[in-house]
């Protein structure tokens, strides 16, 4: 048994680790993950949605689940990500990221114990307070990341401007001594112990397929599509609207109390009333939370073989036992074949539910076509190697039977190669693969020569990120 002794230093060559208390920041459309490198789970996960309350004195921002889940008048729920998978609102993004880091990781800086007010005599209370205020102003001037190098992740299609902006924020606003930017695809591959492979990342706003070779993204092969978790949510909404009778979608905050009702019968609940009703965006966000629950517990991907619309597959799906779901207001139902239809659009554009607001998705945006396109843009010699390491990550891949279907689809496209899907079982590893990969990378001793130091940044400017983080 080789248990780590807290009083002994690990042997130098034992794990090639050299932890410098680096911070790994992995921002995504749905949540921002942050934590110390070397740990196995991000300590700080906070939603990428933020609350904004406009008032005369300027907008007030609310970050974190506790703040944005509470209904308040004029509370707008927004997201800093743009529709194309690139950060749009940099100011808020920086604030949100800083919140994610400081709220759980670094905290406010500890001050000298002789001056922090705890050891002061109560007699000198007045003076002490004055000193505290002084100290706080000094501390506020200090930058949050003075002590920790920062490893940030970015999507594979991040434009140069966004990358330069990221290093600017890290260096100038947060004062980090060293910085590095790495693609999520590479890090997700690292988390699975692979240096080469195809990374299929189905997130909230975007699905991306990234070929990675020897720890480097093959840029020509990077594919992205908007068919991801949010698309599935919209499909569910459409499905609810279409069903007869329409399925009501009531978020939690509206329900004061509920009573049990039979399946399918209308809900009997006492609803909350508000003086000034919360904004639409707040309601939408809260509805999303219910839909997330629905996705987690009900939605199922038709596992193949063939598509859901093929032959008798739909009949088979109908004959499978249904899954019950209860809405926050007590309405409940057993969902049969409908639960298969919500996610079918990810694989089969024809099967997607459409209306005016949700046009039919493009064929080339479906997952099999994305994989095909990504492989097609890679050198012919490397294709079989990549297909042997298909890493599946992103929270939307946790849909029930998603892996089975993906496996079927890929084997259908490439029947002659040995295709291997690597889908880690633990939910945390699937959801935070990119962060975990970053945690591994930033804690390696051999990685420290890659950091872009503050000195280098000052000498060469923000463009250094293009040269160094390839």
């Amino acid at each position: 048994m080789n248990n780590l002794n807290s009083s002994a230093t690990p042997a130098a060559g034992e794990y090639a680790g050299d932890e410098v208390s680096a911070i790994v920041l992995d921002p995504g459309y749905s949540s921002v993950r942050a934590g110390f490198a070397g740990e196995d789970v991000p300590k700080s996960v906070c939603p990428s949605w933020y609350g904004q309350i406009d008032s005369d004195s300027g907008p007030q921002y609310l970050f974190g689940e506790n703040a944005i889940y509470r209904p308040a008048p004029n509370l707008q729920i927004k997201n800093y990500w743009g529709a194309d998978g690139v950060v749009e609102d940099w100011d808020t993004a920086a604030k949100l990221w800083e919140y994610a880091i400081t709220s759980r990781l670094t905290g406010t800086r500890a001050s000298d114990p002789s001056k922090n007010g705890l050891n002061d005599d109560p007699k000198e209370n007045g003076n002490g307070e004055a000193m505290d205020v002084n100290m706080e102003t000094i501390e506020n001037q200090e930058k949050p990341l003075e002590e920790s190098p920062l490893l940030m992740t970015e999507p594979g299609w991040n434009p140069t401007k966004a990358r330069e902006k990221a290093i600017e924020i890290a260096m100038e606003e947060w004062g980090t001594p060293a910085f590095y930017l790495q693609k999520t695809g590479v890090l997700a591959a690292f988390a699975s112990g692979k240096a080469s492979g195809i990374i299929i990342d189905v997130g909230a706003s975007h699905t991306s397929v990234t070929p990675v070779l020897d720890g480097m993204v093959l840029k020509k092969g990077v594919q992205k599509s908007p068919l991801a978790g949010n698309f599935v949510s919209n499909q569910i909404r459409l499905g609810f609207k279409r069903s007869q009778p329409e399925i009501p979608l009531t978020p939690h905050y509206l329900v004061k109390s509920k009573t049990q009702v039979d399946a399918g019968s209308p809900a009997q609940a006492v609803y909350r009333t508000f003086d000034t009703p919360p904004t639409d965006s707040f309601r939408y966000y809260q509805e999303e939370r219910v839909l997330t629950e629905y996705k987690e517990s009900v939605v199922e991907v038709w596992p193949g073989p063939g598509r859901l619309s093929n032959g008798t597959n739909e009949e088979i799906a109908k004959s499978m036992p249904g899954r019950p779901f209860e809405m926050p207001d007590g309405w409940n139902q057993v969902f049969g074949v409908d639960r298969f239809k919500a996610a079918e659009g990810l694989f089969d554009a024809n099967a997607a539910l459409t209306d005016d607001a949700n046009p039919r998705p493009k064929d080339e945006h479906t997952l099999p076509r994305l994989v095909q396109a990504a492989v097609q843009h890679v050198d012919a010699d490397q294709r079989p190697i990549l297909l042997q390491n298909i890493v599946v990550t992103g929270a939307s891949t946790l849909l029930y039977k998603f892996g089975d279907r993906l496996n079927y689809e890929i084997n259908n496209i490439y029947p002659s190669t040995r295709n291997k899907l690597i889908a880690p079982g633990p939910v945390v590893e699937r959801k935070y693969a990119a962060w975990i990969g970053g945690s591994i990378l930033a804690s390696l001793g051999s990685f420290h020569q890659l950091w872009i130091s503050k000195k280098e940044y000052e000498e060469q400017g923000a463009n250094i990120v293009e040269k160094r983080c390839r």
Partner: protein, 616 residues
């Protein structure tokens, strides 16, 4: 223990060890019956009484961690700033390290913060642990002169070549990545051509901002890079002075063929993009192939097993039992005695009846082919038994002639030493004393369609062949005789003619003489026509055809006898062991007699049939 006793022994001390040992043993004896049941409370164990239950329930032993040694006050850890030597910019990062134990630690609580500040700040550790990971790839370099002299290309500008080399270096020869990231923008370097625009218009043209960047394939990039590398390598080290490894590299670089490589990739891609049906077909074919291979293997294995079974000693229970019983020296001794006795009895027997038993002994010893071992043994034993008048106790198993024929058992009165090939024997038979005769035999055999090399020279075949050769030589002899006779006849006739002419009877005799000659001449081609048919039969069976001819009697008799002889010979060999020795001579003599008969008949018959036979 033993060494201690030895020492005592050497030093002449009283054997105190014995006493100790005894004590130990006693103690052990005492301890043995009272086996403590582990993991059970003493009181519970007492309830078991004298005999503990056969299956005791043991609790998993509680594994306590070794008690922590108190090594004084807790060791301190500090955030040690360090410089990674692999970096050039002197970035100072901090990692947790054990606080170096300085000489007497000052135990002043108030001084602690100050002390920390003192200790950590000045000591910046220089960490070279990870220096070994700072690797840069070797890239061939060239000067401007070299480029101008050797490396110019119509397709590649100097700038693009430089860019290519830079990219190769950046991505350390990972060609797939290089090709992926290769994005040369000529416009980007437009300031350079401006300076050289006057001198090199072409380059300026190539570098014009509106010229679209060329789409280079991976093969193009590789070809350019390898070509330059090869040229530079040759410049640096002349081909003559390269060592094997360098030359191999050089050859590889200089023989790179982009078209071939491109085609290969196309094929590889096509292979990957096969449809499900094609893949299934291939799988099916592969499975089929495997099935066939497996069947072939099985067949081979079965054949090998069969062969092994034919060659291996018969699984005689007695023998195997005997073999296993001969493992001890006593058993071997007994075996030796037995063999010795047998040998002596044989010797006695040989003394009694002479010759053959000696031979039989050798044959008995020589027997190595196990398939016929039993039969041979029995044959030998039979012979022996005949010699020793049934004095030997081994039971004899007699085989019926059919069985002997079936099992291909043959007995030999005399065995030539060493191993000979059956084909050699056959070859020897073809040779006659004179060269002419040999050639004649060869032509005769060729006419019969007997091949030069007979593929399966079994004993039976060689027997038949021997007979055939005998016949051939006889016939050759007969022909010789006939030719001689004919010559004499001609001489005599000529003499007769002369006499007749002298006697003035020329006309009649002349007509007779001419009539005889053409007849003979006509007959000859006739006989030649017939020969093949005769040949075929002559080899295999008797000449039934010839029954119509006048020769039928003699011929049929002769051949029939020979056949009978051959059979009789086999029978003799099998059945009558002892008498074998005489058989061949008999057959020879009979064959000779047949020959005589035949020749006699031929002679008696006259020219026509005689010539036919002679041809044969």
């Amino acid at each position: 223990m033993a060494s201690g006793r030895d020492v005592r022994d050497m030093l002449g001390l009283p054997m105190g060890g014995d006493v100790q040992k005894g004590a130990v043993q006693k103690r052990a004896k005492v301890a043995a019956p009272v086996r403590r049941i582990q993991g059970v409370a003493r009181e519970v164990a007492a309830l078991y009484g004298e005999r503990p239950p056969p299956v005791a329930v043991y609790e998993a032993k509680k594994a306590y961690r070794a008690k922590r040694q108190n090594q004084g006050p807790a060791k301190k850890w500090v955030q040690q700033p360090f410089i990674n030597q692999a970096r050039t910019d002197g970035l100072v990062l901090k990692h947790w390290r054990r606080k170096p134990t300085t000489a007497p630690a000052v135990q002043d609580g108030e001084d602690v913060p100050m002390e920390e500040g003192d200790n950590t700040e000045p000591q910046v550790e220089i960490n070279g642990d990870y220096l070994k990971y700072k690797i840069e790839v070797d890239i061939p370099t060239f000067s401007d002169e070299e480029y101008e002299a050797h490396l110019r290309s119509d397709d590649w500008s100097r700038e693009e070549t430089d860019y290519l080399f830079q990219v190769v270096k950046d991505y350390s020869y990972r060609w797939a990545v290089i090709w992926d990231r290769y994005d040369y923008q000529p416009a980007h370097k437009s300031h350079l051509p401006q300076q050289t625009a006057n001198s090199e218009a072409s380059q300026a043209l190539a570098a014009l901002p509106f010229a679209p960047p060329k789409q280079r394939t991976l093969e193009d990039l590789k070809a350019r890079f390898y070509q330059i590398s090869a040229k530079l390598m040759k410049l640096r080290i002349p081909e003559m002075q390269m060592d094997a490894e360098q030359y191999a590299t050089y050859e590889m670089l200089s023989t790179f063929n982009p078209e071939l490589e491109g085609n290969r990739k196309l094929l590889a891609a096509a292979l990957m993009n096969r449809s499900m049906d094609e893949v299934k077909e291939e799988e099916f074919l592969l499975a089929e192939l495997q099935r066939i291979n497996m069947a072939a293997h099985r067949l081979d294995a079965e054949r090998a097993e069969l062969r092994a079974r034919l060659e291996a000693p018969a699984s005689n229970q007695q023998v195997s039992a005997g073999m296993s019983s001969f493992t001890s020296s006593q058993a071997l001794q007994a075996l030796f005695q037995q063999l010795f006795q047998q040998d002596r009895s044989k010797k006695r027997a040989s003394g009694g009846s002479g010759g053959p038993s000696r031979i039989s002994l050798t044959t008995n010893d020589l027997i190595q082919t196990p398939s016929s071992a039993n039969a041979q043994m029995s044959a030998a034993a039979r012979r022996q038994s005949m010699a020793t008048n049934q004095s030997v106790q081994t039971p004899i198993r007699t085989l019926s002639p059919q069985q002997e024929y079936r099992y291909n058992v043959s007995t030999h009165d005399r065995l030539t030493s060493g191993v000979t090939f059956g084909s050699d024997k056959l070859l020897k038979m073809r040779q006659a004393k004179s060269n002419v005769q040999t050639q004649k035999i060869a032509t005769a055999l060729a006419e019969l369609g007997v091949p030069e090399v007979i593929s399966l020279p079994t004993s039976k075949v060689s027997d038949v062949f021997e007979q055939l050769i005998g016949k051939v030589s006889k016939l050759l002899d007969v022909r010789k005789v006939r030719e001689k006779e004919e010559g004499e006849c001609r001489v005599l006739e000529q003499m007769k003619e002369r006499r007749n002419s002298e006697a003035q009877n020329g006309h009649v005799s002349m007509s007779n003489g001419t009539s005889v000659e053409p007849q003979a001449k006509q007959e000859i081609p006739d006989s030649q026509e017939q020969t093949p048919g005769v040949d075929a039969e002559g080899e295999a069976d008797d000449d039934d055809n010839n029954g119509a001819d006048g020769v039928a009697d003699a011929d049929g008799d002769g051949d029939g006898e020979v056949e009978a002889d051959a059979e009789g010979e086999e029978d003799d060999e099998d059945a009558e062991g002892e008498e074998d020795s005489r058989v061949p001579s008999e057959t020879v003599s009979r064959a000779a007699s047949v020959g005589h008969k035949r020749s006699a008949s031929v002679l008696s018959q006259g020219s026509n049939k005689d010539s036919k036979r002679a041809r044969k």
